[in-house]
């Protein structure tokens, strides 16, 4: 080491490389929690201002916050956690992001390379533990590999079907000095090249099927959201050009506006009657960026028995996994939709679907989302409807926890734009919504961000209220409090002889005092007549809020396709008396 040698700006420690790579990838915010094995990285973060660090209260909170951030912006969410418990606490968000195709880059500290395998303090086999719940992961043993791996991590997380990745960096690699290089093409495995453009032949065949359809339906999913704003625009244009009815999965809400004329509502287990019946009776189904999940299909051998199916997906393994399709098109939703539109416009004309719309109107007339109104207690459906009305005119983002309130939110909150709806669909993670809201608020500091929660879910990650207060993130936690794990209770009522085993929370915190204890603001409302006023007050508050909305305790979520039944065997709300319910659930136990 002689002083006369010119200083190479690309020579730096591993820790510095990490922060530099984040900046090179345009990362403005990361979510994390320090610990022994990431201290060198935290030291680098301290000495710069390009990347802002949001300190959470539990690593799971960091993960879900990054998911919310990613889903509301279309950018990758970045997480930094320490080795051992830091990494294991990240497992739930990683699995969640994998299921819902959310791009996350998670950097974990690891014990120094020479201690790996020795059961060192705060050591765990991070790469082994996270292998099944990431799209890919790396353990970096040499500081000179670090830049390449970090760039590849961003590429893998954000391209193709997006997903979470983990880069595990031992502490000695963080201290070691090596050569950094900016992102370049050769950083990526040559074995990884996701297909973006759809096969022209398949697209032509798809268009001729669509053009000849008498009873068509478009079934869109989260892939359209992931593909970017252009994909949602193209989807809307396709609906307009074809005049087809459209439904969507939970993950796809907002790609087509809920106020649009062709919207049938969400489909699936708690979807609308018209959406599910149209799926069952259609003759041509166009599935865009969805994966025929079991909550969507119900009984697979009775799923849409008489239709020709077109499936657009960027992930070849999604094709023919659950449902056999006639025309698979592997490619990016936006790209393929663009091609389909172009061919359709030049070669086909709008099919006549008048009769089909008439049939749909009769299904719609069943009013499958109806509920009995009540002047004394707040019904959860009413609460969501009023919340939706109260937020009109605001720049609103909604996150949810998991359970009945999540389904009611999906049914009764109208989403007009993509990226406005953050929910844990595939994994169904209770505790997702509060930290996700935190992440959304970081990305959109001036917007109205509301977590629609349940009293049980929200307590799983309640500690992040403290993070919200610290970072002045005015998230609104709107709790539909029925004192039950409502969805668990609903299944116990329907399938387990009404034996309500451990689904009642005997003790709940006083949410108003809890909010105040954290330094936020608490509201409580139990009268339908007071709700609108209280909601207006909540929206005005520029601090984190816990809103304890006391709702009817025993309300259940309908309509419902009992698990393992077909789309045309729905149980409707006003018809769900004891006899109909018993009949619907007769013939065995639901498996999931």
């Amino acid at each position: 080491m002689s002083d006369s040698k010119p200083h190479d700006p690309n020579q730096m420690t591993g820790a510095a490389m990490i922060v530099r790579a984040l900046a090179d990838h345009g990362v403005k915010h990361i979510f994390g929690y320090p610990g022994g094995a990431v201290l060198p990285i935290y030291d680098e973060i301290y000495q710069q201002s390009e990347v802002e660090h949001i300190l959470v209260r539990h690593e799971q909170g960091a993960g879900h916050a990054a998911e919310g951030y990613a889903r509301s912006t279309g950018l990758p969410g970045v997480v930094l956690v320490t080795s051992g418990p830091g990494a294991t606490n990240m497992v739930t968000p990683l699995a969640d992001a994998l299921m819902d195709s959310i791009p996350l880059v998670c950097i974990t500290g690891q014990v120094p390379t020479h201690l790996i395998g020795n059961d060192a303090f705060q050591e765990c086999d991070t790469v082994g533990i996270t292998r099944p719940c990431t799209k890919h992961n790396w353990l970096v043993r040499d500081v000179n590999d670090l830049a390449k791996v970090l760039h590849e991590a961003f590429y893998v997380a954000t391209t193709g079907r997006p997903g979470p990745v983990v880069v595990d960096v031992p502490k000695d690699v963080q201290f070691a000095t090596g050569t950094y290089h900016p992102p370049r093409k050769s950083d990526v495995h040559i074995s990884y090249s996701p297909r973006v453009k759809g096969d022209a032949n398949a697209i032509r065949k798809a268009v001729s099927l669509l053009a000849g359809a008498k009873k068509p339906i478009i079934y869109s999913g989260g892939g359209v959201i992931n593909s970017g704003l252009a994909a949602s625009k193209l989807l809307r244009e396709l609906v307009e050009v074809t005049g087809f009815p459209i439904t969507s999965t939970l993950m796809g809400l907002g790609a087509y506006p809920a106020s649009g004329p062709n919207w049938l509502g969400m489909l699936g287990m708690h979807g609308t009657y018209e959406a599910n019946m149209a799926m069952h009776d259609c003759d041509v189904m166009l599935c865009v960026g969805a994966r025929f999940d079991d909550r969507i299909t119900g009984r697979t051998d009775a799923f849409s028995p008489n239709s020709k199916k077109i499936h657009i997906d960027i992930d070849p393994s999604s094709i023919n996994k659950n449902i056999r399709v006639d025309i698979p098109i592997i490619g990016d939703c936006g790209n393929v939709l663009g091609d389909i539109l172009q061919v359709f416009k030049s070669e086909a004309k709008k099919p006549d679907t008048k009769d089909w719309w008439k049939t749909i109107a009769t299904w719609r007339a069943r009013n499958s989302l109806a509920y009995k109104t009540n002047n004394d207690v707040i019904l959860p459906q009413y609460a969501i409807q009023r919340l939706f009305e109260a937020t009109r005119g605001h720049d609103t983002y909604i996150t949810t926890e998991v359970g009945q309130h999540q389904m009611w939110a999906a049914q009764f909150f109208g989403f007009e734009e993509p990226h406005r709806w953050m929910t844990s669909g595939g994994l169904g993670t209770m505790g997702y919504g509060l930290p996700a809201a935190l992440g959304v608020q970081v990305a959109h500091p001036d917007s109205l961000v509301i977590d629609i929660g349940g009293d049980a879910s929200v307590q799983m990650t309640m500690q992040e209220m403290s993070a919200a207060v610290q970072h002045e993130l005015p998230i609104k936690i709107f709790i539909l409090n029925n004192q039950y794990m409502g969805m668990v209770r609903q299944w116990q009522q329907l399938l387990h002889g009404n034996r309500l085993s451990h689904s009642y929370s005997e003790a709940l915190p006083d949410f108003v005092k809890l909010a105040e204890a954290y330094g936020g603001v608490g509201f409580q409302c139990s009268k339908p007549g007071d709700l609108d006023g209280a909601l207006q007050e909540m929206i005005k508050v520029k601090k984190p809020v816990l809103f304890d909305c006391r709702v009817a305790a025993l309300e259940n979520c309908f309509p419902m396709i009992p698990s393992g039944k077909a789309h045309n065997e729905m149980l409707l709300p006003l018809e769900a008396n004891d006899e109909a319910t018993a009949a619907a659930f007769a013939g065995g136990k639901a498996l999931v």
């Binding site: 014990v111 390379t113 020479h114 201690l115 790996i116 086999d125 790469v127 082994g128 502490k171 000695d172």
Partner: protein, 180 residues
């Protein structure tokens, strides 16, 4: 030398690496191979070669032969880690017994005509490799032997039009009348 501030920075002792062949008898149940491989990747051990096949189907026992490298301490640790896995019946260090036979099978594809072809056949005979497929412009040789012999054969074939190699990895068994 300055004393490191934390145990994290104590340097590893660098004893020379040794290569050992381990035979592992395991219950043939789903996921058992993943457990064994996960142990190696999770704890940072090396795998030079790994072969696995059911050997006693009536007892549902599979035999895994692993060639690994590491310091004597690491090799001992690998054996202990393998032995404490629930589906592992036995771990035997074939290298320590000093009485083991190791064999590997390779299939080697060559493409060429004229002089190269003749030379390849001549060498194959010297190595007791058999021709198991032939066209007018190619051969596939089958060769068995220890790893060194196969490496040597492949090196000799390289300039003669080597196209492709498929190797089984090492299988090992002890000499003498006793079973393990």
């Amino acid at each position: 030398m300055e004393q490191p501030a934390s145990a994290y920075f104590m340097e590893e002792r660098h004893d020379p690496n040794e290569t050992h062949t381990l035979t592992v008898l395991v219950a043939n149940e789903p996921g058992v191979l993943a457990r064994v491989i996960g142990l190696f990747s999770g704890r940072g051990y090396n795998i030079e070669s790994l072969t696995v096949s059911e050997t006693e189907s009536h007892k549902h026992v599979s035999r895994i032969t692993i060639v690994t490298t590491g310091t004597p301490m690491v090799i001992t640790q690998i054996k202990h880690q393998l032995d404490r896995m629930i589906p592992v019946h036995r771990v035997v260090d074939m290298t320590l017994t000093g009485r083991s036979i190791e064999r590997e099978l390779a299939m080697v594809k060559l493409r060429g005509t004229g002089e190269h072809r003749v030379e390849a056949l001549r060498l194959a005979e010297a190595f007791r490799a058999r021709v198991i497929d032939a066209t007018i412009e190619s051969f596939v040789f089958e060769i068995t032997g220890n790893t060194g012999k196969i490496n040597q054969f492949i090196d000799l074939m390289r300039p003669l039009g080597l196209v492709e190699i498929s190797r089984t990895g090492v299988a090992a068994i002890s000499r003498g009348p006793e079973g393990m």
